[in-house]
Every structure is written in C-alpha cells, then in structure tokens.
C-alpha cells in the first residue's frame, strides 16, 4: 500500500474524531501497512529491522514491529521522504552542546488533523468554536518556530480560539501583567478561558501571583492544560500539587486541569480524561490511531494489566517518520471495575525525561539519579 493510500484512510479516521470507538482490526491493518512502507522508505529503520530480523515479511502483528527509541531522533534523520520535501522540522529542547531530536514533516495535514481531533475530544468539550479566549504560557511561533508545542497551540488558536487569544511568553519572560489583565477581562465578560502551557511556566506564574491568590474566579467552562516536566529547572513541584495549585489560583476545580503527555517525536498526544469523564479515574486517553503498550524493559514483552511498564507507542500519525516509538517513560494501565483497560497513567515522567534527555550537557555521562560518591 502506498503512503498516499494509508494517509487518506488515516485522515478519514481522524475526521471521525478521537472519541470514536477503538477499532483494533483497522489499527492492526494500517499499522502493518505503514510499517511495510516505512521499512522501505527510511534507510536507518531498514537496517535496524534487518538487524533484528523483523522485516515486513516476518512481522505478523503490531507487537512485533520494531520500535525506535526516542533518542534515535537525535542521531538519525528518521524520515520517509527526500530532504528537499521537508516543510517543517520540530526540535526537542536542549542546550547548545547537546544534540536535539528532530521530527521532519513533508506535510502538516496528518499532524494537524491528529492534534486537532485529540484537542477537540479531550480539551474542548463544551466550548463553541471561537467561544473561548485562549492564553498560552509558551513562546509564539515567531519566537519558537521549531517548537512542536508552540505549533500545536497556534493551530488550536487559529482553529478554535477567540480573536483575543494570545501567547504570553516573550524572550523567555512571562508577561504576567498582560496575562492577568486578559484574565480579568474574561472574568468580567463571563467568557470562558482556556489556559495552556508548560508546567514550569505555570510554576513561574504561580510564584509571580502568590501575593494575590484569590484574584481570579474564572467563568464556568474555563479550563487549563499543562504539559511537560521540570527537566533542568531549579524548582520542581509534584504533579498533583501543581494541578491543585493551578485550579485554586484560577478558581477552578482540580478536574478542570488537564495534563497532556506528548513529545516532539510523536504526531499524537495523550490527554487526561477529566473533562470528558467527570467522575471516573483520571487517566490518559489515546486516540484510536495510536496504541500505547506497556512493556517489560528487560524482556520486551507486554506487562500484565496494572503492572508498571516502559511506554511504547505505535502512532499512525507518524506516517512520514517512524510510527513505533520506544520511550524511557514508565506507565501503568488504568482498569475499570471489570478489569478492562480504560487508559493509562504516566509514572515518573520527570525522572524519565531527565535521564533520557541528559538535560544538561555536563550531565551527559552521568545518570540522572542514584550515583554514589567516593
């Protein structure tokens, strides 16, 4: 099957929305077709699969498709098209001494269709198009053209946000007053607000507004999305505490604060369930075109439901790069009363991210934790 045919079917699937019921057969078929295409089109991946003796002729199911570690995006150009066709490159964060991972795209169609479907499903329910002012605690596309997060926010602003939506991080500084004024206006006008940004930007905001913690009581329908860890930062905050603090500062309930699990190397993102399931357990949801597996790092086999495993993602939205990605993050399936998997939790994201990214150049040879000293 050609890439065009695969992508046409993917776009149809994405147009059905991320809330569509999982379709394992459709996923399996498309994943194997995409693997066959990517095996042929991406030379480093070809060699990896051959070294493992897992070629399209031998691979029978998604679990057998070789996954590429996220770190490989730092060392190889993992794309299935010619360099001259690149229209966009997203890069992971990093210092000047450190290599940065790169996701190259020759089309934004699949990438944006995927991210919008997930956003509409998990972050925007109850909001009308253009009905919410969106505030992003992140740099604008002009300042960070290679940030996948900024791009996602910009697409969200363009497609769904009110005209007053804005970015509030300029040249590394949070424009607290402009943001505060915008929130005050939304409060007066009773317009719901959507606030999205990195966890650390929220920490900065919370610190900067600590003197007046009851200043905002955002209108009903308002919500917050935070993402990312604290790698290389001076202050870290436990995830639950941060969520509660954010909710308190904006006059929201904790379930109005949604965490996103995503990474530059992926076309799809995973959101907390709390805006679409107001009473069930908080867990991450995957769109139907992405499958999250939790594997034993030593055996490579899927762990039993409820056990901790390393997160491996098969993301069909990565049609132009590699769909099977092995992260160094840990996760655990969330089960319902009938012991069926209804989502997953990401465990120790900060620790995993730091170890994987070797966040500061001088740490490159050191483990993130656990070193003794002599």
């Amino acid at each position: 099957m050609t890439r065009d045919v695969i992508e046409a079917e993917l776009l149809r699937w994405m147009s059905e929305g991320a809330a569509a019921r999982p379709d394992p057969e459709r996923f399996e078929r498309l994943a194997l077709d995409l693997f066959a295409f990517q095996f042929k089109a991406c030379a480093p991946y070809t060699r990896l699969c051959e070294s493992l003796d897992r070629t399209p002729g031998r691979v029978r199911c998604v679990e057998e498709i070789p996954a590429v570690p996220t770190g490989a995006f730092k060392e190889f150009e993992l794309r299935c098209f010619e360099a001259k066709s690149v229209v966009k490159t997203f890069r992971t964060s990093g210092t000047t001494l450190e290599r940065r991972g790169e996701l190259h795209l020759d089309t934004l169609a699949i990438y944006e269709a995927s991210l919008l479907a997930s956003l509409r499903c998990c972050l925007l329910p109850g909001l009308s198009k253009g009905g919410a002012a969106m505030h992003f605690l992140a740099p604008s596309p002009d300042e960070a053209p290679d940030s996948s997060l900024t791009h996602m926010f910009d697409v969200l602003r363009r497609e769904e946000g009110a005209s007053s939506s804005a970015f509030h991080l300029h040249e590394g500084h949070l424009t607290v007053e402009a943001f505060a004024e915008a929130l005050g206006r939304a409060q007066r006008e009773k317009t719901p607000s959507l606030i999205a940004g990195t966890s650390f930007a929220f920490v900065h905001f919370l610190d900067a507004t600590r003197a007046d913690p009851d200043r905002w009581r955002l209108p009903e329908g308002s919500r917050v999305m935070e993402t990312g860890g604290f790698k290389g930062r001076s202050r870290s905050v436990p995830r639950e505490a941060l969520r509660q603090e954010i909710a308190d500062r904006f006059g929201l309930i904790e379930r109005d604060v949604v965490n996103q699990y995503g990474m530059t190397e992926l076309g799809s993102q995973f959101y907390d369930s709390t805006l679409i399931d107001r009473t069930g357990p908080r867990r991450k949801l995957a769109p139907p075109w992405a499958r999250v597996r939790l594997v034993d790092p030593e055996s490579g086999r899927d762990v039993d439901p409820g056990e901790t495993g390393m997160i491996v993602i098969h993301d069909l939205a990565n049609s132009g790069s590699i769909a099977a990605i092995q992260t160094a993050d840990l996760g655990r399936a969330v089960l319902d009363e009938q012991e069926r998997t209804i989502g997953f939790d990401v465990l120790g994201r900060e620790a995993g991210a730091e170890a994987r990214g070797c966040s500061i150049a001088t740490d490159a040879m050191l483990a993130a934790s656990g070193r003794a000293n002599r």
Binding site: R47, P69, G71, M310, A367, R371, A372, N373
Partner: protein, 441 residues
C-alpha cells in the same frame, strides 16, 4: 474564636537535638585525649575492618545484602577489595603528615570543631566509613546522617568503634530520618563543620542553608573513565585490562563515582577495538556467576533498554558492536559523541584518534571527572614530560580537567585509604588550627 494548634515535636529533630547535646559533651573528652591517642584508636577500628576475618565486614555484608539492591557476591567482593586497599598504616601516616603535631610545628595546634555533621550519600558503604572516622582523628565528634540507600553502615560502624573504644563510640552518633525532614536537617546544619556527599543539586541546597562561618566540605557527582591504547596487543595486556575493566564496571553495579562508564580507545585500530570490546564483555559475563548484577528498578531498566535500543540502531547503521549479556552491556561506538551513562553495568567504548581529540571530548566534563584507568598507551602519552614547554603531556592535562587519580584497570574502585578524594587532602579540610605567636605578657 481562635483555634489552638499544637504541633507535635518532630521526632527526628528531637533525636538530632539530643544527639547534638551528647556529642558536644563527649567532644570535650575527645579533645582532652592526645592526637596520637585518638589516631591510634581510630586506626585500631580501621584494622578491625580491614583484616581478612573481620566480623564487622561479614556483618555488614549480610545486612547490605538484605537491605540494598546489590547481590551478596557483589557486596562481598566490593567490600573485600576496597578494604584490602585500605592500609591502616597509610591512614596513620597520612594523618600525621597532614595534621599531626610534627606537621603543624611548635607554633600551631589543632583547634577542632565542637562537632561535625557528616551527611552520607549513595548506596556504597566505603565513603560513609571513612568520612565518619576522619573527624574523630581531628578531635571533632560526628553526627552521621545515614543515607536512605544504605541504612546499615553507620550503625555497624558505631558498634565496631564501641567494641574497641566505648569513649570514642560516644563521639559518633548515627541518625536516620527522611530526606524531606527540614526540622531535623536544621539541627544538623547548625554544626560548625559540615561534610556532605550527594548530587551537585543537594550540595548546593545544603551550602545555601549554611552560615558564612560554617566549614563546608562537599563531595559532588563525578564519573570515571579508562583510556586504552594500541600497546594493549602486547603480551597479556589485553587480557589483564579486560579483566580489570570488568571489575571496575561490575563493582557496586557501576553506581559509584569511581566506576568506569566510558573507555576511550586512543589510537586503537578497528580490529583491536573489537577485540577489546569482546574481551571486556566476556570478562563481565564471567563475573555474572560470582558477583551477579543486583536487582534494578523499572525506571533504570527502562533507561538501559532505551540506551541498548539506541546503540542497536547506531550499530546497524554506522558500525560498531553491541554486546549484550545477561547483566551487562558493552557498546563499541563508531564515534566519541557524549552519550548518557545508564549505569547498571553498561559500558561504552569510544574511539579517538589523537590525544588532542581525546582532550576535546573530555573538556566539557572538566570538574566532573574523578579517576582514570590507563593501559597500553603509546609511549608519548603514558610518560609525563616535565621539560615540555609546549603541549602538556596527556596525564598532566587530565589533572587540569580535575582528575584526581590515575591508576590501572581493575583498581579504579579500590583507591588507597589516603587517596585525595576530589583532589582534597583527607584531614586538613576538616581541621582548624591555632597559630601562637611569641607574645610578651
């Protein structure tokens, strides 16, 4: 109506406060003893630990096997080899050389701190043992905060002191409390001298809470490397170096600052590089029976799996070798790019063609390097030339990068007892001195 809130006193802080009081009182007795008396007593304790049939070592071995992730075989070998290298005589000589009356001269005397806090770090017992004994020689009693990763060593050490010299044992109080117990830390950090081992972030946090008059000695994160050269193909050098490196990697499962995490192959051709990789991997596999790798938590296993997967991909595309054993990984890289060290017996071998390239690769890690094992280097790299006024020879340049010890493979993790940890003397940083000029009264 106002609400009365009663805070239950923090138990660990109360224990710390009580221990501080006892130590300050015991310290008077300690300082009343002569330097030689204190030194002799501490040396006897050390001798009890270093003798082959040491009951304390056996007890520690058993207890660590039950409470730490290391395997019993690895603990036994790690303790035995490290303590074998600790010569009590060298310890005594070092103390006399640095802070003994003969070294200070007639006009100076030691003015010991009233007490010293030692904050241990990491799961390896050796630094805890030594850092608790040194202040006692200087004349300062020790409040020893145990590391959460090793809740055993401090108490076994204290009992070993008590068996030799109960008065001296009263000057060493181990204390355990959670790392986030700020009230207990507050008491510990009132000591006039604080010695801490831990991550650079932890040391920064501790030093930020100390007053300007507090003496602070911090031992931060370091890593060690090996440099192998083309003469390794001579005689049995390769075999010996591989056996030694395997020990340097396997001991304490690579968790210490003295573990080799990278081997630079300086001017080594591809064929020899592959031989080295295979020999080291074979030697590591042989150690699996006698000193198997301990259990590793899932997060570290995920990091190891990730690094193995990345290496597999590089090897498939750019060359090199990936040698995976039951409990070890050896990667012969095709280049010398800096890459993470996931530990858990994961060793990278990286080719560098010249001495200049090696230094270029190491320069970003200046200050982070601890020790270097060398073997088989070409003559021009192995012998420092003090007459050279141009380029410094390799070993001198390593010292400029902060390397504090150069040794041979197999001895990285077993430094002599008087080794200058992080380039510092053993006793002097913990000592205070009084100068007495001739004065007319």
């Amino acid at each position: 109506m106002s609400r009365l809130e009663i805070q239950w006193p923090d138990a660990a802080a109360e224990r710390a406060r009580a221990a501080r009081g006892r130590l300050i009182r015991a310290g008077e007795g300690l300082r009343a003893r002569s330097f030689e008396d204190r030194l002799a007593s501490v040396a006897r304790v050390l001798s009890e630990w270093t003798r082959a049939d040491s009951v304390w070592r056996r007890e520690l071995e058993r207890a660590l096997a039950a409470t730490t992730p290391f395997s019993q075989g690895a603990i036994a070998e790690g303790l035995e080899s490290a303590l074998r290298a600790w010569e009590p005589g060298a310890f005594v000589e070092c103390a006399r050389r640095e802070v003994g009356p003969g070294a200070l001269g007639e006009a100076r005397t030691l003015a010991p701190y009233a007490w010293t806090t030692v904050i241990a770090g990491g799961p390896i017992p050796m630094p805890t043992l030594l850092s608790a004994l040194i202040p006692l020689v200087v004349g300062s009693p020790v409040l020893l905060r145990e590391t959460e990763k090793d809740p055993i060593t401090a108490s076994v050490l204290r009992r070993s002191i008590a068996a030799q010299d109960p008065e001296l044992a009263a000057c060493c109080e181990p204390l355990a409390f959670p790392h986030d117990d700020a009230a207990a830390y507050e008491i510990l950090l009132t000591a006039p001298c604080v010695v801490a081992t831990g991550s650079d972030e932890a040391l920064g946090a501790i030093s930020a809470r100390l007053g300007p008059t507090t003496r602070f000695v911090g031992y931060g994160h370091r890593f060690s490397i090996a440099i192998l050269g083309p003469r390794l193909c001579e005689g049995d050098l390769l075999e010996r170096a591989a056996e030694g490196l395997a020990l340097d990697v396997a001991r304490w499962d690579q968790m210490g600052c003295l573990s080799a995490v990278v081997v630079y192959l300086l001017g080594v051709d591809t064929a020899l590089a592959e031989q080295i990789a295979e020999s080291v991997s074979d030697a590591l596999a042989r150690l699996e029976d006698s000193m198997p790798r301990g259990s590793i938590e899932t997060a570290r296993a995920a990091q190891l799996a990730s690094e193995r997967a990345e290496a597999r991909m590089r090897v498939a595309t750019s060359g090199g070798r990936l040698l995976e054993g039951r409990g070890h990984t050896v990667v012969l890289e095709a280049d010398a790019q800096a890459r993470p060290a996931p530990l858990g017996r994961f060793l990278r071998l990286m080719p560098v063609s010249t001495h200049a390239e090696l230094l270029e690769r190491l320069t970003p890690f200046a200050g982070q390097l601890s020790s270097v094992a060398i073997a088989g280097l070409a003559e021009e790299n192995s012998v420092p030339d003090p007459r050279s006024s141009g380029d410094l020879p390799l070993l001198s340049q390593l010292s400029h990068l902060g390397v504090s010890r150069i040794t041979e493979p197999g001895r990285l993790q077993t430094p002599p007892v008087d080794w200058p940890h992080d380039g510092l003397p053993l006793f002097t940083p913990l000592a205070r001195m009084l100068q007495r000029d001739a004065v007319r009264l």
